[in-house]
Symmetry: C2
Subunit: 422 residues, 2 copies
């Protein structure tokens, strides 16, 4: 018997029939003696419908006052879900009570549409659990100190669930989703991709930031910070599979480096083709260059990912970095008009047809030769590496995007990810 | 310049196009220098949609826990409306802010789905008005002392608007609806029916309780209790009609008996055919008879309207009353099995083909001969009166339902209601 948090996505809540299935699944856990807190998302399509109405009334989205109203509006989607799920749970014969974010309360800062959770009051929820009730809490939303409703941004319900689990010191937070776990890489690219039974939260962070849509990245950060055991599992299994089987399905995201994980050197291959590369050539190699270039980019609110500065030659150096493709043209324009003149160069090169491929693994920390194995595998396929970036648990390369699938498959094989877990 | 409350029904809020029109109308008032508070209903159909989803999940509706969740669910409809309206007002160039019931807060008791407003905190709203903002507040809902969301029952947004107007001591509360005011009687029955420019709240109460759907009866009681000048007017006039014209359109419901009203002896003709008549004959004329009969009926939660006890003859009397037609069979059954045996009679008569027609007028108080004028008009049409009931401002007769339209037309003419207001 333990305190368990379940989170269900919009697809799982998409119809009354599906909500009934969620209720049956939760009831199974409650009847097994667990204290249950459930965090459902809005019914699929509902948030888009609401924001679509807002857009019809006001195409511009700028002022704080407008963002406040968008949160007022969008937060109703989750409130509908908790009400319906509580009703479905009651129909299953359980005692159930729902809370909107402000009722718990889930306290956030006042950054409308992208608020951050600051604290969660657990008193009310604990009292309900002690009274034998299932507690259903809205995801995605909270309340600021002035009593305004806030939302956490897209995918925020994952973060809500993890934050609730942290506040309640839950034994585990189960994220039911439309994939059945975290894979060594995207199975659409590598059919042999294998589901990981567990992955460290640091690896998961790298996977998430590479565009893996399994979990919102902030929820993983939160889980790591508060050491919440997090499990991603399928919401499409029949609700009445044995609870023991369900409890061990999917992928467990852990914060403890156990022995098993040390054995796996590389856990997965991440990739994305959302980036573009920009190189400024022949800039003077003196202090402040990186700041001169990237400071201007940051001031324009453009996010930079990989950054490389080549070795100096004749007092000049080349400086390269990647930005999101959507920001490419704006960044080049900004550099040409505002930055390059002061650097005494007009040499700028760019490429939007690149991709980034990374090997991710917490085991890299204590193993040498991982990067060179990666480079060899790519070399054997005749793939030229344009940029390299390394961190403790990740090695990324930027390559021509036409080689992306080839590179991912080669690396997946080179690191034996198609073999069963030891 | 005054503090004005506007209330808009679900039809007025039925689409983004209509919401934009509401915003333009409110903006007109705000630009004329008024401090504006707006209470919109849920978009038409939304409350039914939400409760329909709940019904799919739980056909039974009994427990307090279930009713709590229905309120959680249904209250989102109005929250969507306030968010959208605030956005539309901002798009019109106004500063606008929306509040859900709990944010104001609108305090109610805990009677889920039929809560009563206990108090409204005006501090936040006053501060916003002072800062030049239009304030948009959800109708239909509030929050109990434990922080649970409550709703006021169908049509509750009227009551919310009046309660807000009372708390803010608004100069006037304007209820925009799909009829353009209160009429001397139903224009579908009497084409000559005339819109009243004003009506006393006591008359309005009698009209409302007779099934006139213009205003929720509790909102009228509230307006009377707190002396809120209330105006019912059309939401279908173009938003850009001159504000002076709009401000004097519709029907004003007042609490002051001004001279003009004293002149109008009868303000309107109300009627309904929802009732059925039951007579118990030959009961002993002794103390406690009324209680014996009606006590049993009340215990079964059946509402009684007109009650008549005829004069005694040979120590026996006849006792008649009306109930709602839906309760007719149950009432007769109850009396036959539980009550009549103890009264020593088995004579019971009933008639479901009756109707009640009433003349309503605050002027009756100081005029004699009104009732007899009513009876003469009916007599001239050959209409037999079965029951009579009088109050200070209303005289009702129960007649055969086939004469209903004839009676209403005759009375409308007899009291000169088809003539222009003096």
């Amino acid at each position: 018997m333990a305190l368990i948090v379940h989170k269900y996505g919009g697809t799982s809540m998409g119809s009354t029939e599906r909500i009934r299935n969620v209720a049956k699944r939760v009831a199974k856990w409650a009847r097994a003696g667990h204290q249950m807190v459930v965090v459902p998302s809005a019914m699929s399509g509902e948030t888009n419908r609401l924001l679509g109405l807002a857009k019809e009334l006001s195409p511009a989205r700028s002022s704080d006052a407008l963002l406040r109203e968008l949160d007022m509006l969008a937060s109703t989607g989750e409130q509908v879900s908790v009400g319906l799920l509580a009703i479905a749970l009651q129909a299953e014969g359980l005692e159930a009570v729902s809370y909107a974010g402000w009722q718990v309360p889930v306290r956030t800062n006042s950054a409308y549409t992208k608020a951050r959770i600051e604290s969660i009051e657990d008193k009310k929820v604990r009292a309900d659990l002690a009274a034998g009730k299932v507690v259903v809490i809205t995801g995605f939303q909270g309340v600021d100190e002035k009593g305004n409703i806030t939302t956490l941004g897209r995918g925020g319900s994952d973060t809500s669930a993890v934050a609730v689990a942290a506040a309640m010191q839950a034994a585990e937070c189960l994220i039911y989703t439309d994939v059945d776990g975290v894979y060594t890489t995207d199975p659409r690219v590598v059919p042999e991709a294998r589901r990981l039974s567990s992955v460290s939260f640091e690896e998961m962070l790298e996977m998430a930031s590479m565009g893996s849509k399994v979990l919102q990245i902030r929820s993983v950060e939160f889980a790591g910070k508060y050491r919440v055991p997090l499990r991603v599992l399928s919401s499409f299994t029949p609700w009445d599979i044995p609870i023991e089987e369900e409890a061990h399905s999917g992928t467990l995201i852990t914060f403890e480096e156990d022995e098993q994980m040390e054995q796996a050197v590389v856990s997965g291959i991440a990739f994305n083709r959302d980036e573009a590369k920009i190189s400024v050539l022949g800039v003077p190699d003196k202090p402040g260059i990186a700041y001169t270039i990237l400071g201007a980019v940051a001031d324009a609110n453009i996010e930079v990912d990989v950054i490389i500065q080549n070795i100096s030659k004749d007092g000049k150096t080349d400086f390269s970095f990647t930005v999101h493709r959507n920001d490419y043209a704006r960044t080049v324009d900004l550099l040409k008009t505002k930055v390059l003149p002061s650097l005494g160069t007009d040499q700028i090169e760019g490429d939007t047809r690149i991709c980034k491929v990374s090997i991710v693994g917490i085991g890299m920390r204590s193993h040498v030769g991982i990067a060179s194995k990666m480079f060899r595998a790519l070399s054997e396929e005749g793939i030229n590496i344009q940029m390299i970036s390394t961190s403790e648990i990740k090695t990324s390369v930027v390559i021509d995007e036409k080689y992306m699938e080839l590179a991912v498959r080669a690396l997946h094989r080179a690191f034996d990810l198609d073999q069963p877990e030891s």
